[in-house]
Amino acid sequence: MSYVPSTAREREQMLKAVGAAGYDDLYKDVPPEIAFRGDYSHIAKEGLSEFEVKDRLGELAARNRNYAAIFRGAGAYRHHIPSCVPHLAMRSEFVTAYTPYQAEISQGVLQAIFEYQTTICALTGMDASNASVYDGATAAAEGISMCLEKNRRSAVVSQTANPGVLSVIKTYCKAMDAELILCPEKNGVTDLEALASLVNENTACVYAQTPNFYGIVEDGEAIARIAHAAKARFIAGVNPISLALFKTPGEYGADIAVGDGQPLGIPLSFGGPYLGFMSCRKDMVRKLPGRIIGQTVDKEGKRAFVLTLQAREQHIRREKALSNICTNQALCALAATVYCAALGPQGLYEVACQSMANAAYLKEQLEAAGFAPAFPGVVFHEFVTQCPTDSAKVLAALDSNGILGGLPIDGNRILWCATEVNTKDQIDHLIRIVRSVIPHA
């Protein structure tokens, strides 16, 4: 099955119409020495029926574990996704459209992205947002790219950021010939004294994540002060759900706010597709990479939405463009927009509060069971504990009970996470299992 509609007879007619005796005539420009005439080594000659494909994929899906409860985050979070979100985002008009180059026939996509940009600005307290980039890690890297100048070629990045994000930042810095300076941590947060000593007149920007990889809320105001004292920019990496509760990057003085939008209605999906959001202050708008939608009017004065500020982009500027991004994560951005509209300010507040409260309860119960918190500090919905026994043993016990425990990190520590779907009952159940494997608990 190739989904080609034309029949053998129609193909004959079309070949004849274009003056070709057969398909070979259409490929006469391909030199015979490089023609492919063999069979593939890893692809069957004949395709499978729809039933067979579904069956095969169903079998593979069944070889993944689906956990009844997940207490692991570390950059990918399970939240409840209201039914209306996928139903609306998966409308086939949205799913099968492409980049809205033709505004008149694409108002639906354009308006939805304009609403997305408004949503991201509302959450982050920033002036402008682009239409998304690939994920939170590339958003952080692109944020650094926005700040680089001829005589400011270094980025000071806090070690408390998600290691996955750090690895992507490292790759991009190498590509852009930017110097990457890691700022050490102290008690699970960015060491502010060290930061102040690392930031200087060569620093383009400081990147710090809050809540950081250990779940701890960083002192955004202090970091902004240190960066700005050296006339460097501050890029805040944020969890969008946390912004329903905590001070926004706009409020604590960040210049750019980035993060992964996955918590906003995107399923875990083994790591993708997610979306990277990027927002900034007015003075940096023309440095934002990727698509941006603007409101204007049509020739009759009616409100209209269009791709705008395209002079930043690769298809216009070519090698002078700020980034080469073209395709982004539009459909995920749409889902995030619908998610935020479905929850509203109150719903998002409840999700954030319940995530935080559930995590606090989990932390307290684990501590009572002998899991000492690794760090002081206010946490949102993740935290690190020291394990009183081999962490692998604890996680294995949870696993055999259908629970994905926290992420094991170095030094026999575990990074735990709870969201609004990890209820008190679920936590109590987890604690019973954990206690059963701890000697003398």
Binding site: S2, V4, Q13, M14, D25, D29, V30, I43, E46, L48, V53, L60, A61, P82, C84, L88, S92, F94, T96, Y101, A103, I105, A112, I113, E115, D127, A131, S132, K174, M176, L268, F270, G271, G272, V285, I292, G294, T296, V297, T308, Q314, R318, S323, N324, C326, A330, C332, T337, A341, A342, P345, L348, Y349, V351, A352, N358, A360, L404, T423, K424
Partner: protein, 479 residues
């Protein structure tokens, strides 16, 4: 029914709810100094209003499911529903990326087998699935080029050669990686100018980025000579695989002599374009570059799938393993088609393009003579001279006839360009109806040009003032 053009924010009524959260006995304790000063300005709407709002926006969008979408260079083919169902299986959507290899054997099997299949299709030794889109793959691959020469301590290779007909992502990606971009002109036949290339290539050449078939829809028939020139100069051959839909089962970038290639799963492998993404941009390469690929590889050993580090990897270009659910859809597509089906896809993509090109003549002349591959580029320069009607005017008029316009004003070397890519999933009568619409507009350009200058008239908006949008950017709703 008359449609409004209000934003969801303007439909907000304080106190309305769409969904509720469970009541929790636990209370969050947030220190006052850390709280945001006021709640985020998100809409408060009832569920019915939310559903109607986005349903109405969907009606103001045009996808492949709505009608013909011959957007050149984008391969807007039909996205099979089967693949959507596979990608919605909870066994895939509910898996945490860090739940460990043992708990993710199904997903790892998909990544493993898809990488092998794609390597097979493009004639390469290894493929990474980590890049999230074509341009992202280009970025990763160019970084490999940079690292490859750095490891060889061959630091004089600072230039990347890019044809003047190339996608903008090519020069932009090369510049992102610190390369100097050197354009090479096209010859009178629309292919790389061989003399110019030979003059440019030298010991400072890191790579040539070539799209084959190129953006004019022509197969670079001197490809073997091009490879000899670049390899002879010590450079690498990079293939922009955006146009792979023309050649599957007929020839492979690896066999042509390319060292690196990126593919676009959202083009050739039918994954939906999503209004601008998500896509997926795997990178394939020859064995001598395989250790440089971004991300980890998936290996199958002792009956078990596992991740393995690549010795000289340029690093991760994205968190986790790529746009997994996009990869999954492409995998289902390849299983459905098989080798024969893949060849059938390309042969009919090329046949459809040639048939449509033939139907459009003589009113619309292709910019270059001869057989085209999966797409062709028209130049409306003559029409504009004679009638004042531009490529954009014809494009906008097609909208009123239910057709998404072709790509406009690209490639940059063709004046008044319309780049048409029908794809293999369009029927003969769809092509004939489209050709009739094009021809009707050609006649109208002479008899009543104003009708084209005014178009479109049947759309939710008329032509938009893009200059005003850029001059005074309004990028979000200001309550």
């Amino acid at each position: 029914m008359r449609e409004d053009n209000m934003l969801i924010f303007e439909k907000s009524v304080a106190g309305r709810r769409c969904v509720t959260m469970p009541k929790s006995p636990l209370i969050a304790d947030i220190p006052d100094g850390l709280k945001r000063s006021s709640p985020p300005g998100l809409p408060e709407v009832a569920q019915i209003d939310l559903v109607r709002h986005y349903t109405q926006l969907a009606r103001k969008a045009h996808g492949v499911d709505n009608g013909f979408y011959p957007l050149g260079s984008c391969t807007m083919k039909y996205s099979p529903r089967l693949n959507e169902d596979c990608a919605a299986l909870p066994g895939f959507t509910q898996t945490h990326p860090l739940q460990g290899e043992d708990a993710s054997q199904g997903s790892l099997a998909v990544l493993h087998d898809l990488a092998l299949s794609l390597a097979d299709i493009c004639g390469m030794d290894e493929v990474t699935l980590q890049p999230a889109a074509g341009a992202h793959g280009e970025f990763g691959a160019l970084l490999m080029v940079k690292e490859y020469f750095r490891r060889k301590n061959d630091l004089k290779r600072t230039k990347v050669i890019v044809p003047d007909s190339a996608h903008g992502t090519n020069p932009a990606g090369a510049a992102m990686c610190g390369f100097q971009v050197v354009p090479v002109p096209s010859d009178a036949g629309g292919c790389v100018d061989m003399e110019a290339l030979a003059a440019i290539a030298g010991e400072d050449t890191a790579a040539l980025m070539l799209t084959n078939p190129n953006t004019l829809g022509l197969f670079e028939k001197n490809i073997q000579e091009i490879v000899r020139i670049i390899h002879g100069a010590g450079g690498l051959m990079y293939c922009d695989g955006a146009n792979l839909n023309a050649i599957m089962g007929r020839c492979r970038p690896g066999d042509m002599g390319f060292d690196l290639v990126h593919l676009n799963l959202h083009k050739t492998f039918s994954t939906p374009h999503g209004g601008g993404g998500p896509g997926s941009g795997p990178v394939g390469c020859k064995a001598q570059l395989a250790e440089f690929l971004p991300g980890d590889r998936v290996v199958f050993e002792n009956g078990r799938y596992a991740f393995a580090k690549r010795a000289d990897s340029v690093g991760n270009v994205k968190n986790f393993y790529g746009n997994f659910l996009v990869c999954l859809r492409a995998y289902a597509y390849i299983l459905t088609l098989g080798g024969d089906g893949l060849r059938e896809v390309s042969e009919n993509a090329v046949l459809n393009a040639n048939y449509l090109m033939k139907l459009l003549a003589p009113e619309y002349a292709p910019s270059f003579e001869g057989t085209c591959m999966h797409e062709f580029v028209l130049s409306l320069e003559e029409l504009k001279k004679q009638t004042g009607v531009s490529a954009a005017d014809v494009a906008k008029s097609l909208i009123d006839r239910g057709i998404h316009p072709p790509t406009m004003y690209f490639p940059l070397i063709v004046r008044e360009a319309l780049m048409v890519e029908p794809t293999e999933t369009e029927s003969k009568e769809t092509l004939e109806r489209a050709a009739a619409a094009f021809k009707e507009l050609h006649a109208l350009a002479f008899s009543k040009p104003d009708a084209l200058l005014e178009a479109p008239v049947l759309t939710p908006i008329r032509r938009a003032d893009e200059l005003a949008a850029a001059k005074n950017p309004l990028l979000k709703f200001e309550g």
